[in-house]
């Protein structure tokens, strides 16, 4: 009897491992998901460090009779600066500052990047007119003593004006100078691909973020209250489910100026229904669980019960829907750009793809292949991650939460 008691009061012999960490571990155990995460990391790296990877402005240059200057730094925009701070300071904090909880780390990173953005918006004056070919011409004229260039020495919108009459005409196929060739305007494709990572990440995450916020609120209210709220919410979901994102986008760009944020908002506002259904089902399941009853019985106010006790339990399944949602958003933006209705002067994979069609049905394989592969790999990666997450969360495969 006393022996039994000591056994019973022994905690199980594992160190504290939260459920979310277990899920992360199971997800990462899958090779395909690991591939997906590696590819997304590469895309994220390119997005953050794009100006340092592909830029017509040299990192550092020494003109004859002058000291070293850095045209690259001088031409950074506030967005570039913020992203670089995020990449150089934020990401290491997020992954390495283990002594803080995840939410603390997140807040610290926000606390660093937001002021950076605001301060750089106020104080940084990026030169308005840029002459990309100036450095190349100076170099050709022999006025440059020494120069350090980025790995790809072309900005995405550098139209090679120093070659006014290119021979052969653009687009150029891949060469030693232009690794992946140029598009029909003489813009370097490799450079465009790298800078396009930003649009892909932004469209993916901002529009999915909008979708998640709407989906969580609508789905959460439907699931927790059920009854009338559920009935009305479900009708709302059905209405929005029947709006085709692409057609709404097409209609919109036909009448209004093209704006990436509005495109993101439209994608977000039409793709929350899946999230709402997910969250609703989770909340319906969870609200009758004993720990929710116990939380209410402990006197917690309703918002705290909903968002602190139920939502974290529904987050993991939501992540599945998010990863598929990001893939969908990237597809939507690519489709729009491919149809020539996307962004005009920002690098985007879909826009590159659009230029692969030559006059008279010609086909420029290098313009189609590289952006096409990038879209394909990115969408595939998110799908791999989503699927691995779904399996990692499957109680039938891993014996449940408790």
């Amino acid at each position: 009897m006393s022996e039994q008691q000591t056994i019973i009061d022994q905690p199980l012999a594992s160190p504290p491992v939260s459920w979310s960490r277990q899920v992360a571990r199971r997800t990462l155990a899958r090779p395909l998901a690991r591939f997906g995460i590696i590819w997304i990391s590469i895309v994220a790296f390119c997005a953050i460090f794009a100006p340092l990877l592909a830029n017509s402005h040299p990192i550092a240059i020494k003109m004859q009779g002058e000291g070293w200057t850095s045209p690259l730094l001088r031409h950074l925009t506030p967005a570039d600066i913020t992203l670089l701070v995020l990449g150089i300071v934020g990401v290491p904090i997020l992954f390495l500052a283990r002594w803080w909880s995840l939410s603390t780390r997140f807040l610290v990173v926000m606390g660093i990047t937001l002021p950076t953005l605001i301060l750089s918006l106020i104080f940084v004056r990026t030169p308005g007119t840029v002459v990309y070919e100036w450095y190349r011409q100076a170099e050709a004229d022999g006025r440059v003593e020494q120069v350090i260039r980025t790995p790809i020495p072309f900005s995405p919108s550098d139209r090679l004006r120093d070659h006014p009459n290119p021979d052969p005409p653009y687009p150029w196929p891949p060469s030693r100078e232009h690794w992946l060739g140029t598009d029909i305007n003489g813009q370097d494709i490799a450079s465009n691909m790298i800078h396009a990572c930003r649009i892909a990440m932004a469209v993916g995450f901002i529009s999915t973020g909008i979708a998640v916020v709407i989906g969580v609120i609508v789905g959460g209210l439907m699931g927790y209250f059920s009854g009338l709220a559920d009935l009305l919410g479900m009708r709302l979901v059905e209405i929005f489910a029947s709006i085709p994102t692409i057609y709404l986008l097409l209609t919109f760009v036909a009448y209004y100026p093209r704006n990436i944020y509005i495109i993101m908002a439209i994608i977000g506002a039409t793709s929350w229904v899946g999230d709402a259904r997910f969250v609703r089902a989770e909340f319906l399941k969870l609200r009758n669980q004993d720990f929710v009853q116990a939380a209410v019985a402990a006197g917690l106010p309703l918002p705290r019960v909903l968002f602190r006790h139920i939502l974290p339990n529904a987050v993991a399944p939501l992540l599945v829907s998010v990863s598929f949602g990001v893939a969908g958003a990237i597809m939507a933006e690519s489709t729009l750009s491919f149809l020539g209705l996307g962004l005009v002067d920002e690098a985007s994979w879909g826009r590159l793809l659009d230029m692969a069609r030559g006059e008279g049905g010609g086909f420029r394989w290098w313009i189609a292949t590289f952006p096409g592969m990038a879209i394909f790999l990115t969408v595939l990666s998110y799908n791999f991650i989503g699927e691995a997450l779904r399996d990692a969360l499957d109680p039938k495969l891993y014996g449940g939460k408790a």
Binding site: P16, N313, A402
Partner: protein, 346 residues
Amino acid sequence: MSEQSKPLLDVRNLAIAFQTDSGMIRPVDDVSFNIYPGQTLSLVGESGCGKSISAMSILRLLPSPPATYPSGQILFEDEDLLCADESRMQKIRGSRIAMIFQEPMTSLNPVFTVGEQIIEAITLHQHVNSRQARDIAAQALADVGIADPLRRLADYPHQISGGMRQRVMIAMALSCRPRLLIADEPTTALDVTIQAQILELLRKLQEETNMAILLITHDLGVVAENSDAVAVMYAGKIVEYAPVEEIFDRPQHPYTQGLLASVPKLGQDVERLHTIEGTVPPPSNFPTGCRFHPRCPSMQGDPQCRNVIPNLRENLPGHWCACHHAENYPTAPATHPTVAHTRQYS
């Protein structure tokens, strides 16, 4: 405990109705009982007779709609909880009245550590800083007999055993020193040795704090050892309400007698174990008159049983019963039933 002290909780003529697809059902009707400070009242009865929803209505935990309260009062410290608004209820829940549930495996939130959950409950109702809350939480764990409480605070629920979890639930429920603890089958999911430990623990904590306990169970062994008064429920009504010794020594209602006879006793021939014939009627189909009459062995075709609802009446001193055939069943109309008895500790 003196007989004249005031009840802490006074449930009067409580009825609970649910709006369902097939119409209104009333699974709890005209239920009255009292709980005095320091007293344990056991609510017993077969599955589905309305024990849990009666208990949950005290904390107003039933979702409404569909639940409504067509009649009755739940007086807690002279305040009618059925009239209290939601923000008032939030102040009472967890601080004045706490509840522990049947399933320790699922009563803790799997994504938070034990400590986070206890500390959340403490900071909600007490004005303390996070250090003090942590100390209170550790003390609460120590009080329920958990060794090395500071380390256990960092554990996730899935890392500790069922018995430990129920102790954690009790620690959490008692961390704000409630006056009334509602324990809905607190030991059903645990094995017998742990069950005894948990009940012993509740008894000890009750002696220390003089809190009242509403203990819901269908284990008569648990009832016999842990209660002062017993209310026997059948099909949404209380059929017998008496001090614990009275219930076991002089059961008056045929249903109580049947329940007691169906408990195996040491040395009894198992093959002749008594069962109550028939099944519990569903709330949508309660019989008229005495709800127990279709299964009652002592009815013997009495039309009164079929047509007249028997009220809970005091047929022995301090012993309330609702049966037309009970000995000395008074003909006088019912008064408010109350049993203030507390057992003597040896």
